[in-house]
């Protein structure tokens, strides 16, 4: 089980990083989602891997699994879920408004030359 979990975290992190380095919004967002899955599993494992044990106190329990990482993972999942939604919307607006889904920076001069007619940054 340890091997399975460790390699799952490793593979997800590696894939996530690879996708992030593609520098187009869609792969980047998938990549950050994969990274957040990896980190969630990692957080879950930080309380040690225990099978079939209750997390809350009870009279007839032989042992316990650590409940704190589960709470941490819950928080992390909620946050990463919200973040993914935010980045999807912003990326969509960026794509729709500039017709380009590259994440990396455009050199200053080029960007200015490209949209000469447009009012610069503000509305």
């Amino acid at each position: 089980m340890e091997l399975l979990l460790a390699s799952a975290i490793g593979v997800m992190t590696a894939t996530g990083l690879y996708l992030v380095f593609r520098l187009r919004t869609f792969p980047v967002i998938i990549g950050t989602s994969l990274l957040s899955y990896a980190v969630n599993v990692f957080l879950f494992a930080s309380g040690r891997l225990v099978v079939n044990r209750p997390p809350v106190l009870s009279d007839d329990a032989a042992g316990y699994t650590d409940p704190l990482p589960q709470a941490l993972v819950l928080t992390a999942i909620v946050i990463s879920f919200g973040m993914t939604a935010v980045v999807v919307i912003i990326a969509l607006s960026a794509y729709l408004s500039s017709d380009d889904d590259h994440v990396d920076d455009v050199p200053e001069g080029l960007a200015a030359a490209k949209r000469e007619g447009e009012p610069e940054v503000r509305t």
Partner: protein, 544 residues
């Protein structure tokens, strides 16, 4: 137990919810409540700072749970200093946003602004590593919204970079926290300090990894050299009041480094010897050099100021990286100064951009700016402060850092880089200022007749500030400049206070006993002793 400690977090949170739910269609009331909330926040922050000034460490246990299990909010000298700084900056920035009409160029500015304040305050006050992460996320989510406030293709584009970069940073933060929890079984900072100090020699590999991961996360926030790429575009593109508020965001990274690497991983800790200490100072010096070279190389005023932020963070970090009481004290003074200087410059950039119309903030000679004398004067003062020339606070701060660096083996490097980069910064700022404010007079004749009828008025009445534009933006910038003058005049008392703050940091024992020794509600499990060994009940509060 005083409930005032938690109010800097609760008040903006309530205010933001109130504004977004009740005042959605009342722009004027939004302004009134937002400003009232921020002023109240300033009053509370000042009260807390006064209470903490004598060295008391105030503690607030959420739900009255005792420390290692429950979540605590801790207000010591360091935390209250940054809380006060944020509140002060918040008032000025909000005044500017209202005066310049920025808050009406998009929706929900005030709600996001309050959420941003809540996140920043929480990050400064929390005594729990995981809650630090949560508050980082709160301030980041709010900053994403503020960053793309009022829209525009370029702003969205830079917004995506900013969000993705910070998502990666957050992921790294979680990896670091997971490692810390796996190694120590706690996330309370005071408890961490005790357990890490007590770790046996052979088993420190995991915690060493965590300490380096954690400093990388904070280095992303503080924009230290290899991790600074997000900053120039983000700050230059963000709406001006937002960029000015972001001046405190890099300081959140610096604060976290100060907090964690004096309390949890103190410099004398055997386990982390020679890890970050060896490369943090060189990295900070390179950041400083790069920032100031960027100032010289920029072709737009907004990017110039953004690079000067990197430079000032380099200066700040090179003082923190000494990890001596003198270094931290100097760094605190410089942090206060550079927050104000950065904010003032970003707001001035906005005024220049507003008034130069067609030329924007390109560093090129164009028609003179209406009301140029006042703006040029303010730019002059802010640039002097940022570049660290006497008589303003930048010079005092730099002097303190130079003095603090004496004991370090790398002292000559520190001196050489700080002094030469200051010269570069002076040249950069002077060039920008003369191009925008002086050369314009030479160019006035030929360009004013050209295309832009709006600008022609400026050519005739150079020295009369126009009467119609709002006064409030100038009040806000003037207020920030006045604050800089004040910290210059009171540099002596302030330095004594910062020295006391840093002494408190390097003697963490009272902090730890205050956090862990304060009795609170314990786990009440019917019957037996089994309850004692469980870490359980903290979990229920973690979700907030």
């Amino acid at each position: 137990m005083s409930h005032w400690i938690i109010t800097p977090v609760v008040l903006p949170a309530m205010m933001a919810a109130f504004i977004v739910l009740m005042l959605r269609h009342h722009p004027l009331l939004q302004r009134v409540f937002s400003l009232a909330g921020t002023v109240a926040l300033l009053a509370i922050a000042a009260g807390l700072a006064v209470q903490a000034a004598d060295g008391t460490i105030m503690l607030y246990q959420l739900g009255h749970w005792a420390a290692p299990f429950g979540i605590v909010v801790v207000a010591d000298r360091l935390a209250t200093l940054f809380v006060l700084l944020t509140a002060l900056l918040g008032v000025f920035v909000l005044l500017y946003a209202i005066g310049s009409g920025w808050d009406r160029r998009g929706r929900h500015f005030h709600a996001l602004f309050q959420f941003q304040l809540m996140g920043i305050m929480g990050a400064f006050l929390t005594g729990d590593a995981f809650n630090l992460f949560v508050f980082f996320e709160v301030l980041l989510i709010a900053s994403y919204g503020l960053m793309i406030h009022s829209g525009g293709a370029r702003r969205f584009r830079v917004g995506v970079q900013y969000v993705v970069y910070n998502l990666l940073g957050s992921t790294l933060f979680l990896f670091a926290l997971g490692t810390i929890y796996a190694e120590t079984g706690t996330l309370n900072m005071a408890d961490l300090a005790e357990r890490i100090a007590a770790m046996p020699d052979g088993q420190t590999a995991g915690i060493r990894v965590a300490s380096v991961l954690l400093i990388l996360v904070f280095a992303v926030k503080a924009a230290i050299l290899p991790l600074h790429f997000w900053l120039p575009s983000a700050y230059a593109t963000a709406p001006a009041p937002v960029a000015a508020l972001f001046a405190i965001m890099t300081k959140v990274g610096a604060y976290s480094i100060i907090r964690f690497y004096t309390l949890v991983f103190p410099p004398e800790l055997a386990a982390t010897q020679g890890l970050f200490g060896t490369w943090l100072l060189p990295a900070a010096l390179l950041t400083l050099a790069l920032g100031m070279i960027g100032v010289l190389a920029s072709r737009r005023l907004d990017r110039l100021v953004a690079f000067s932020v990197i430079g000032s963070m380099g200066m700040l970090m090179s003082s923190i990286a000494l990890f001596t009481p003198e270094g931290i004290a100097a760094a605190l003074y410089y942090a206060v100064h550079s927050t104000f200087a950065t904010a003032a410059l970003f707001l001035l950039v906005d005024i220049v951009r507003e008034r130069r119309r067609s030329h924007g903030v390109d560093l090129s000679a164009a028609t003179p700016i209406p009301g140029g004398a006042l703006i040029a004067g303010m730019y002059f003062a802010a640039a002097i402060a940022m570049a660290g020339l006497p008589p303003l606070s930048g010079f005092v701060g730099k002097l303190m850092i130079l003095q603090a660096a004496f004991a370090d083996p790398l002292v000559w490097w520190v001196w050489a880089v700080i002094l030469s980069s200051s010269l570069v910064a002076v040249v950069g700022f002077a060039r920008a200022g003369s191009l925008i404010f002086w050369k314009s007079h030479a160019a006035a004749g030929e360009t004013s007749s050209a295309s832009d009828p709006d600008d022609s008025q400026g050519a005739h009445e150079l020295h009369d500030p126009p009467l119609d534009p709002p006064v409030l933006p100038f009040v806000a910038i003037g207020g920030i400049l006045a604050a800089m003058v004040a910290i210059t005049v009171f540099a002596g008392p302030l330095h004594r206070h910062f020295a006391a703050t840093s002494a408190q940091l390097f003697d963490p024992e009272p902090y730890i006993t205050r956090v862990l020794g304060t009795p609170g509600r314990k786990i009440a499990y019917e019957g037996d002793e089994k309850a004692a060994h469980s870490d359980a009940p903290a979990a229920s509060e973690e979700a907030h």
